[in-house]
């Protein structure tokens, strides 16, 4: 886990960590309301906040071998709440009828922005788009040689 990172890698991971922090913060603010309104949602929000903190630590510390797993976890932590948000606005979840069609809630919009940005970043990292040009060229040459 002590491997050195290029500036590109460090920047991408730094942004992802900040976005995970933002997602955790936004969901922490919802916890009291959700625990009183629909306790299972409150528990899910607590789990998401904890998972975001763990994901940020994993992404910061992961070495080359674990990097794809760390970015996959980041993508999941972005996609899961995003999918939940969209589905809960389209279909009534238990004890959540009142949020159906409520697309402009004060914390929903920032949350969607953060999750969307993190998902794009994670997909770009997993697809290799964020690698240094020299590294990309080297791996391309290796593939051609093989």
């Amino acid at each position: 886990m002590g491997d050195r990172l290029t500036p590109n890698q460090a920047l991408a991971r730094g942004l992802a960590v900040a976005l995970l922090g933002a997602i955790a913060a936004i969901h922490i603010m919802w916890i009291p309301h959700k625990l009183s309104e629909a306790p299972y949602m409150g528990v899910l929000f607590i789990a998401l906040a904890v998972a975001c903190a763990a994901g940020a630590a994993f992404l910061s510390l992961a070495g080359p071998r674990l990097t794809p797993a760390a970015w996959s976890l980041a993508a999941f932590l972005a996609a899961a709440p995003l999918a939940s948000y969209v589905s809960s606005r389209l279909v009534a979840w238990p004890q959540q009828r009142e949020v159906v069609g409520s697309w402009g809630s004060p914390l929903g919009t920032p949350s969607v922005l953060a999750e969307g940005a993190l998902l794009v970043l994670a997909v770009a990292a997993l697809s290799g788009a964020l690698r240094e040009p020299s590294v990309r060229q080297a791996s391309h040459s290796e593939r051609r040689a093989a």
């Binding site: 990172l5 290029t6 940020a56 910061s60 809630s105 004060p106 920032p110």
Partner: protein, 102 residues
């Protein structure tokens, strides 16, 4: 300014805007449900035709504008964001090469 720094600034600004959007309602003392709700209820339907289908009585579709953030949650929320971001940034800073080579 190098490309990395520009991207870092853009990223920091983006995350700050997102957090500001999230915190603004509670920071301005806007707490709890603001009570504005929109009802699209349709009242009891009447159907007087013979052989017609029984009309459905509308139960109303309510859209509540929810602002659920109590002020006492601001500190844990902002604190956790700062701890996560600062901790990650410190680790990444130590792991980053100065010359751009892995």
């Amino acid at each position: 300014m190098g490309m990395h720094r520009k991207l870092a600034v853009v990223g920091v600004v983006f995350v700050s805007v997102v957090l500001a959007l999230a915190l603004a309602p509670s920071a301005s003392g806007h707490e709890g449900s603001n009570g504005s709700s929109e009802r699209n209820g349709q009242g009891p339907a009447t159907n007087t035709g013979t052989g017609g289908r029984q009309g459905q009585s509308g139960d109303g579709h309510q859209h509540d504008s929810i602002s659920p953030t109590p002020e006492y949650m601001l500190l844990p929320a902002v604190g956790s964001a700062l701890v996560i971001t600062a901790g990650g940034a410190a680790v990444l800073w130590r792991r980053t090469t100065a010359d751009g080579r892995a």
